[in-house]
Amino acid sequence: MRTLAFLTADRSLPTRAPLGPADRSDLVKLELHGPPPRSLTMGQALRAEQAWWCPVTPSRTLVLADPTAGPVLRARLGEAAVDLTCGLVALSLSGPCAEELLARFCAIDTRPHVLPVGGFRPGSIARTPGYVLREGEQQLLLLVGAAYARHLFDVVADHA
């Protein structure tokens, strides 16, 4: 058995139910240490292999892979990657009001010319540590610690 096998959920078993249609927590999230396997610019995520390669620091990369592509990627990266799929909750804000909604509980500058598609920003969201990724013109992906899932959904619902 792999040393870190206990971090990876077995999809054949019952798992946590999604908190709503915007819940994208089934994204496979992998933390890579060391120089990134792809050339990345700080603040800008790269889309490749059906995944966002997000630079957190020059020596730490967060990979957000589509649920279908995730297991393959995880297998390829092996024990170099720490599987944080269960550790982060992901919520997608989409539509023309996404930025205005986020501005009610987050101080990160998400104006399109500052945060273009692929723009990636670690920072405080709803008073908890998190990440913002612009996936599309009108689509922001928020990630915070899984224990804050209920809190984040409550805050978003309260302001939406």
Binding site: M1, T3, L4, A5, F6, L7, T8, A9, D10, S12, L13, P14, T15, R16, E31, H33, G34, V82, D83, L84, T85, C86, G87, L88, E100, A103, R104, F105, C106, A107, D109, R111, V114, A126, R127, T128, G145, A146, A147, Y148, A149, R150, H151, V155, D158, H159
Partner: protein
């Protein structure tokens, strides 16, 4: 009384849409577009409030939301300015600070007879003797001087408030001609611009000086250029580049790269005896009442300075006299006559103007500096920091406001790198046009007197300031703090210059030496609820939270987590752990992965015991100490393979431990990585004599006492889920700590509960179980000065190690110099449970320690606890006295665990 005038060119009332509200219970008729103040004035009301100290009548003075004279409560919320607050159908308006009523105020006696007792600082003088009566005086004074009552509870707030973050390239404060022009100039060069103004409509003075159409044209151009215009949105303050702007229930927090201040100027009142009487008005107020609300402000008017005489005559007001100076205003309830140099005139309106002073408060908060300008008789902007620009009257460009705004807007855009060389040419051109306007002006003299008010907010007179200076408060800042001049709701708008002039006259120091006071935020009166924002407390919940709720758990805060305190029967839950098995959610434990070729060496340098000697598959207790050798956190360290360690921390400690680890890692630069996996994993502790049997039912792992021994670590499937199993025993029975993917939390929990006689237990029973074992809780039983030796975990410190570790020298010192008190267990004979925090006394009754934990144990049939006691008492059987409130308890020291002292059960 005053009917409305015929239609005025710039009026904003809608005569076809009447509405009604109440003032002190009586119905007031108003028109759509009216403010509370204009409607009340049109209905004949002249007294709007009572003075802070002397309770003299106060009426409309500025009609611009600047002075304190029209503060009222609206629907229970105090501190609203009637002259700018729009009238709404059905609103309930009440006066402030007068009892029993506004017209008959008992406290008015203070003005008539109380004056000798109320000099500046009177609360330190008149009311200080006899000293024991001060609480009584204080209560009465607070009652007399308040500005209204706030709702006491958060829940009584009837409206939602929220924050909005707005990042911008340029923020323009003030939407008069200058601000609008600045916003347009910057936006047309492509900048992202926000424009805020306190008025309900952009335009500033253009609106009441006959240029309403121009105001609308500029506003339309600004919007077309993409400027976000926020109206009825006063800027509250500049906080290190963040400008807070209040608009209705929203607090905009604007972060802009460039700031343009176009905050205009504030018309100053004159200081002369009787200057606070209702009927004395500023010329701007008169203009606004006529132009915007079509109200004749009086019948017979005296005018100081000729500016508004024509406006008054056009509105049908008889102008009985025009003069350059005023000696005194007379009248009791209202102005009746005015004494001018040429004689006394009966009138019901006195229009004054002490000139206009630039509104520098916000720009000085941003780092701008003012200096006294003798040519203009006021304090003007002398210096601006980088990325801050001033325009319009604030910059001294009164008549060329649009040019001035354009210049500021262009400069801000250039500073952002927008525009091109052509823009620079335009800057030079506009600058040439704006050759500084040099109209010399000096303010009319201050006329002293006991009723010459410098500060209307705090009822400070010219005489009071003279007296304060005489008592030694001879600098403006000292005088301000002693008399509270400039510290009222107007934030110095009406009195800053006059106060400086009074101090200058009293001390003989020139005005440039006296300086001016600095207005602190908030620049405008704002409800505290808006600043507080939406109540929102980030709560962490474990993956099992819903299961706990379904089981009827009492959920309580534990640090930033919501955790089950118990499931209704803490004693029964604890007994179940002793008799069969219990299951507790310990997902809150901090969990860190420390990996890399040098991971062992790294942890060796952090922990006072050796970590690198652990074999894969084994774990060890570890206490973390600071450089001062004090306990910071504790937990277990497990070795999963050669290069992988799994560290657990206390529930509240993980963020601090990760921070601590990565700080040292940054310093030492070892080949190690740290990952916080706390929230990725659910964790439960299965404990009790039947734990092995129950676990055997959900896993194929060999859980026999040899195959999976105490302090072993294993990986296996539990109920099908991949799982890390740790054999630790902090509740004192055979137990297994299971860590598995958070997504499977409920699945594994359900499977274990179904596997045998196992009962869920909460935090409270866990504390009892730990206490029975004398397992300390960091932060509960220890504080920032506790060393491992004093706290009874000195066995986890290996000073004999050759290599260095954090805190080693301090710990060596601590080992050689035992601390005065140590942590021990105790029992209490008479069965009462001492309060945590109760004091331990020595034989003379002197406090020498304290109780940190205490519980009644049904299993042991005793009251047990932990306490810090003097070293001399730290032996079995020593008697301690505990002072708990009025009670004296007699305890006996027990140094061994109360339950299973040899640890046979947890190793079984």
């Amino acid at each position: 009384m005053s009917a409305r005038l015929p239609t005025q060119p710039g009026e904003i009332i809608d005569r076809g849409r009447p509405l009604r509200f109440t003032f002190d219970g009586r119905t007031v008729n108003a028109l759509e577009g009216d403010t509370i103040g204009s409607a009340l004035y049109a209905a004949g009301r002249r007294t709007f409030s009572r003075g802070f100290k002397y309770h003299r009548r106060r009426g409309l003075l500025c009609c611009a939301g600047q002075c304190p004279n029209c503060l009222v409560a609206v629907d229970g919320a105090p501190g609203v300015r009637a002259c700018t607050e729009p009238a709404r159908e059905g609103m309930r308006v009440e006066h402030l600070n007068a009892r029993p009523g506004l017209e008959l105020d008992a406290m008015e006696l203070v003005d008539l007879v109380g004056r000798p007792f109320t000099p500046p600082g009177f609360y330190y003088k008149t009311f200080i003797r006899p000293r024991r009566l001060w609480p009584l005086y204080e209560k009465a004074l607070r009652h007399a001087a308040g500005l209204g009552r706030l709702p006491e509870h958060q829940g009584e707030r009837r409206w939602r408030t929220e924050y909005r973050r707005r990042h911008a390239d340029v923020l323009v404060v003030g939407a008069g001609a200058a601000g609008l022009s600045a916003a347009i100039a910057a936006a047309e060069l492509g900048a992202d611009v926000v424009l805020v103004d306190e008025g309900p409509e952009p335009g500033g003075r253009l609106l009441w000086e006959g240029h309403a159409a121009r105001a609308r044209t500029l506003a339309a151009r600004a919007r077309a250029a993409g400027v976000e215009v926020l109206a009825a949105a006063p800027a509250l303050g500049h906080f290190d580049g963040l400008v807070a702007v209040w608009q209705g229930s929203t607090l905009h927090q604007v972060r802009a790269h460039e700031h343009v201040f176009a905050t205009g100027a504030i018309e100053q009142p004159l200081v002369f005896p009787g200057n606070d009487l209702p009927g004395v008005m500023l010329s701007g107020a008169v203009r606004r009442l006529i132009a915007r609300y079509a109200i004749a402000p009086g019948r017979r008017a005296a005018v100081i300075g000729a500016g508004v005489a024509d406006v008054l005559r056009a509105a049908g007001v008889e102008v009985v006299a025009v003069a350059d100076a005023v000696l005194e205003a007379r009248g009791r309830r209202h102005l009746r006559s005015v004494v001018l140099p040429q004689g006394e005139f009966a009138c019901d309106l006195l229009v004054v103007s002490g000139g206009e002073v630039p509104a520098t408060a916000l720009v000085t908060q941003s780092g701008g500096r003012t200096a006294y300008d003798p040519d203009r008789g006021h304090f003007a902007l002398a210096e601006l920091p980088a990325h801050v620009w001033a325009a319009g009257q604030l910059a001294g460009h009164g008549t060329a406001a649009e040019c001035s705004g354009q210049l500021a807007g262009l400069r801000a855009a250039r500073s952002l790198g927008r525009g091109d060389d052509g823009s620079d040419t335009r800057v030079a051109d506009v600058q040439a046009l704006l050759a500084r306007e040099q109209e010399r002006w000096s303010p009319p003299p201050i006329r002293p007197g006991t009723r010459s008010f410098v500060c209307l907010c705090e009822d400070v007179t010219v005489k009071d300031i003279g007296q304060a200076v005489g008592e030694g408060f001879d600098s403006l800042e000292l005088c301000k703090r002693f008399t509270t001049v400039t510290m009222g709701p107007c934030q110095g708008r009406m009195c800053q210059l006059a106060a400086a002039r009074c101090v200058s006259e009293a001390t003989g120091a020139p005005l440039d030496q006296v300086g001016s006071t600095r207005a602190r935020p908030p620049w405008s009166t704002v409800p505290l609820g808006v600043l507080a924002g939406r109540p929102s407390e980030p709560a962490k919940r474990t993956p099992l939270h819903e299961r706990h709720r379904a089981l009827g758990a009492r959920i309580a805060w534990a640090g930033d987590w919501r955790r089950p305190y118990d499931y209704g029967d803490p004693e029964g839950e604890a007994l179940a752990v002793h008799r069969s098995a219990g299951l507790i959610d310990v997902s809150t434990l901090g969990k860190l992965l420390v990996r890399g070729p040098q991971a062992g060496e790294f942890l060796d340098r952090l922990y006072p015991n050796r970590v690198s000697t652990l074999k894969p598959g084994r774990l060890r207790y570890g206490v973390l100490t600071s450089e001062a050798g004090r306990i910071m956190d504790d937990g277990t360290v497990a070795r999963l393979d050669e290069q992988t360690f799994y560290v657990t921390t206390t529930s509240g400690g993980v963020a601090g431990v990760e921070q601590w680890f990565s700080w040292w890692l940054t310093d030492w630069q070892l080949d190690v990585t740290i990952t916080d996996v706390t929230q990725a994993l659910a964790a439960v502790d299965l404990a009790g004599p039947r734990a092995r049997e129950i676990l055997g039912g959900v896993t194929s792992l060999d859980c026999g006492p040899e195959a999976f021994a105490y302090l072993d670590v294993r990986q296996a499937r539990v109920a099908g889920a991949p799982c890390l199993l740790l054999r630790v025993g902090f509740v004192g029975e055979l137990s297994y700590e299971l860590h598995f993917p958070a997504a499977h939390g409920e699945h594994v929990w359900d499977a274990i509960l179904a596997a045998g006689d196992v009962r869920p237990f909460g935090l409270e029973p866990q504390r009892l179980l730990r206490l029975q074992k004398q397992h300390l809780i960091v932060g509960q039983d220890t504080d920032s000065e506790s060393t491992p030796f004093a706290a009874g975990v000195g066995w986890a410190v290996k000073l004999e190690r050759a290599e260095d570790f954090v805190g080693k020298r301090a710990l060596r010192h601590a080992a050689a110099h035992p601390s005065e008190t140590v942590l021990v267990g105790f029992t209490v004979a008479n069965g009462r449970v001492p309060t945590e925090g109760a004091v331990v006394l020595d034989e003379r009754g002197v406090p020498v320690g304290q109780v940190t934990s205490a519980r009644r144990s049904r299993q042991l049939d005793r009251v047990i606890g932990m306490a810090w006691v003097p070293l001399a008492l730290a032996e079995d059987g020593a008697a301690v006295t505990i002072s708990d409130g009025a009670a004296r308890l007699h305890g006996t020291v027990v140094t061994e665990p109360f339950h299973d002292p040899a640890g046979v059960l947890m190793r079984s």
